[in-house]
Subunit: 391 residues, 3 copies
């Protein structure tokens, strides 16, 4: 009847998986730039996680998984003992200077390619080019659809919005590696799947223009226009990234469940365009399901990996890998501002991947050669293929 | 104050739990038939998991948890080393012939009873009787409500639909072991709990008839008629299975959350009819909650168990068992087409159950005699009781 | 590149973490009273978990995680071997007498403060004062908003409801430690965030009064009045507890997802009032997210901890701690009726906390001094600070 695998050949030493994981040059398929100015403790804490700032009730934001991870992982890179106290750490950081700290941490990530979203507070952080130099790596631009739309509406009328926007995105597609939508932040992911008609786009653009004329800040919150942007991006053939799940208090997390995207994913299944679901936590099992039933869907647990601690990172990666085909899983940091976040994300991702895969090898569930192959796919090759990085 | 259990008597050797688990003849309370024809690699891959077929982006569907599990577990049954390459595996499979492969794998499952849903692609797979012979086991028929309705509407008018349907289900109840609804696939699980009126059923049946008359394919998508079918089944007293959660891209997973069934579960709590929530992943903790607060609700993590790998299977079974009373948990494979899936499901379920229970015995949380009792309940006795298999 | 921490200093012996956890005097920030009368097996089982009572299908409710935990943990406190059979356990319980059993179990919890919700079946259980005496601890009252509203509408007219209710809550605020809302049970957590107008409250109170006049039972189900109660409590400055997630069949779990509270949490972020999200399971990762992005949000996994077994308790606490800042996590039992539940909750919480933290120390992720600090925060200090217990 049920035969348990006692008589299988002994597995090779799992330790070598950790070496394989450490050796992979990671592709960070979604991140932002780093800040170049010195930061005081309050600002540093406000950049650590998705809380706006430390407040009166919870105490220091260093008392979080990510705060503990920064002290554990980054302190040694700055020549300090792990778990150094926050003030000591920040003192040493200031002593070395932000450029030296950034160079040390970014180069220690082992990331060879950064795909940089330039649509968020771009004036406060490095450009992709500067990031590449600091990290000793290559960088590519990811163009945020909603930011392009905001630029366009500021310059032209509702009448010419669609045409100008399309032209701007066509031009961007020549240099950018991908597009990105933050529909989850603005209107939620329950988007009607149809391409909106030209007439509907015209009406919506006119409405937006008139709202701005009354003094509203320029911020795209219109479902029709966001759908227009997505379909324009689909026409241009580049991969499209979607913010999904975990973000700051400005998102409405319940409307960021990736299952809400199912109609749009069905509608785009045959367009030849990969759809990248970013972050996904705490809905990462939902994302894994979507990656299994839609061949054009790629998934990650970026941003979460650096925020949930070492055990959490291994758990959520394992949960993502329950249903997601191994060919659909990517690495990203979604790091913004602090070089510490790229380093913690990369290290904790490597630890998680090594833990998850090693356990399979030790239990003889996976062969060692398959395991090494899967490590390379998830760390690098899936992203290289989906973004056509080698062409 | 808090006394930790250092001074408790030593637990018995947990290894014997694995033996107890291996010794249980499983009741597979929900599955389909197997295919009898030879299959090429593309078709084999398309049957492995819930993806329609391998596509351009993710590579081979053997690069999934279930693909790796097939290579680990099934290859030895075909006299090969575990982790044999897919092409070698399929070559050996063809060499032995599908009947021999099916006999070997099905008999190695240790399943003594199969409850077979005959409502899906029945012309492509074995009947319950043939499955029983191949597997050396007993088989029972589960009648899919929506399939009966489709047969009836094809034969009669909207006017006589309700009466004919009721008669057909009454007749089926004499030979079937249970009914099944795929409401989750067709209209979602947020069903109004009331029994629909005869007048409403008449109107809905007439509408369906007229849609078919205009050339629409015969496919039941009407909430009123689906509720009519469910209440007709309740009247007949057999257990009713519901597809919940995980399925292919054709389901709308967000509408397949079992929590949406709460109103119907409240309405049926005193009808004396067990309600079986199938699959449930990724909402299996929700299902466990429902099993605790509704005595007539039974739950499983079928289909998921074979798809999520060994670690995943242990995790989701443990999560289901957080709230679900031990008397409410069942085993199913939901396997379709490939004998490999029955075998992987049975083996991975046994591994998961042994892991979850053994850990409790080793930590002295459960006594060994309780643990053996719970193993027998979950593997077999709960299903025997709920389906009255011994009467 | 990636450097794994092989050359870090050896961690101190993790065993001392268990001692630190055992030494913390816990603050149970949400519980109910205990029953003083002898209980037969059927009643005892009906109080064990969230099932109403044992039924025909699942067998004894002792065959649940909490049933096994009671036998494991409580039997030794009554001088019996762990895993004693239910009937033996109940026989010994009757032999010792309910007061002796209550004293033994309550004092063994190591809880120093009980915050007692007096709004549910208060006539069947001990008052906070009696509970304090039995447990040798301090007790405080948590006033349930909906219960106060029901008292008020029974005594006065819809016309004077708002004014009387406000006065009653003002008076209560002088002696109570917190308010509590069961909006999740009555209308769901998707509450409009605005403070309702006086006119709307007047209309809603008049409607409620007239419903009661027609013979409806006095039960507050009105969104406007519940929002009025919440905002009145906000004005009074005490912490406000919300039932979230896990409860009995009377709640609609899908409407108890804490993410639905986001608009109200945004609206109350600057009011200086802590919001306590109780239970949260199975949405505890959602709750952890809210605790990260809202400084005034505190979270626990009470009620679930005693219901999900030792492994489950460690899993859900770890999952809560993925995003929740360490300064935001609280302990509660939500125990009602049975002293066993306070003891199982306290013991299983300590086991879970020790497991989660020890693993971090053993892997050298956290320093031992940080770990001891976090243990004290979660077990006691966060609650002392949020409820101003020492002022």
């Amino acid at each position: 009847m049920a035969t348990f695998p006692e008589d299988m050949p002994p597995a090779l030493d799992g330790g070598s998986i950790a070496e394989a994981v450490a050796a992979v040059s990671l592709v960070d398929h979604h991140c932002h730039g780093v800040m170049r100015e010195p930061l005081d403790r309050a600002v540093f804490e406000s950049l650590l996680c998705e809380a706006d700032a430390p407040g009166q009730w919870h105490g220091s934001l260093f008392d979080t998984q990510v705060g503990f991870s920064v002290r554990r992982l980054c302190a040694p890179v700055l020549d300090m003992a792990p778990h150094s106290e926050p003030d000591e750490y920040l003192h040493r950081r200031a002593e070395l200077g932000v450029d030296e700290v950034t160079r040390r941490l970014m180069r220690a990530t082992g990331i060879s390619e950064f795909l940089v979203d330039t649509g968020f507070l771009q004036d406060r952080v490095t450009t992709p080019e500067d990031l590449a130099v600091l990290a000793g790596a290559r960088a590519y631009e990811v163009v945020r659809l909603e930011s392009v739309a905001a630029e366009v509406i500021a310059e032209c009328s509702g009448n010419t919005f669609a045409q100008t926007c399309r032209a701007r995105l066509e031009a961007a597609a020549h240099t950018a590696i991908a597009f990105k939508s933050i529909a989850a932040y603005r209107v939620g992911l329950d988007l009607a799947p149809e391409r909106p008609s030209d007439a509907d786009v015209l009406i919506a653009a006119a409405r937006w223009e008139s709202e701005i004329a009354t003094g509203e800040p320029i911020r795209l919150n219109d479902r029709t226009l966001i759908r227009f942007l997505i379909w324009t991006a689909v026409d241009l053939g580049l991969p499209i990234q979607f913010h999904v799940g975990y973000g700051d208090a400005d998102t409405d997390l319940a409307r960021g469940d990736p299952l809400l995207l199912m109609p749009l994913l069905r509608a785009t299944a045959d367009c030849g365009v990969p759809i990248m679901l970013l972050h996904n936590y705490p809905f990462h099992r939902h994302a894994g399901y979507l990656a299994q039933v839609f061949d054009h869907v790629f998934v990650d647990v970026g941003l979460a990996v650096q925020n949930v601690g070492r055990r959490g990172a291994a758990s959520i990666l394992a949960e993502l890998l329950e249903l997601a085909p191994f060919g659909s899983v990517l690495f990203s940091t979604d790091a913004f501002g602090l070089p510490e976040l790229y380093y913690v994300a990369a290290m904790q991702f490597r630890e998680a991947l090594a833990t998850v895969v090693e356990e399979r090898v030790v239990q003889r569930d996976w062969s060692e050669s398959d395991s090494r192959r899967i490590v390379r796919m998830i760390g690098s090759q899936n992203a290289r293929r989906a973004y056509r990085l080698d062409s």
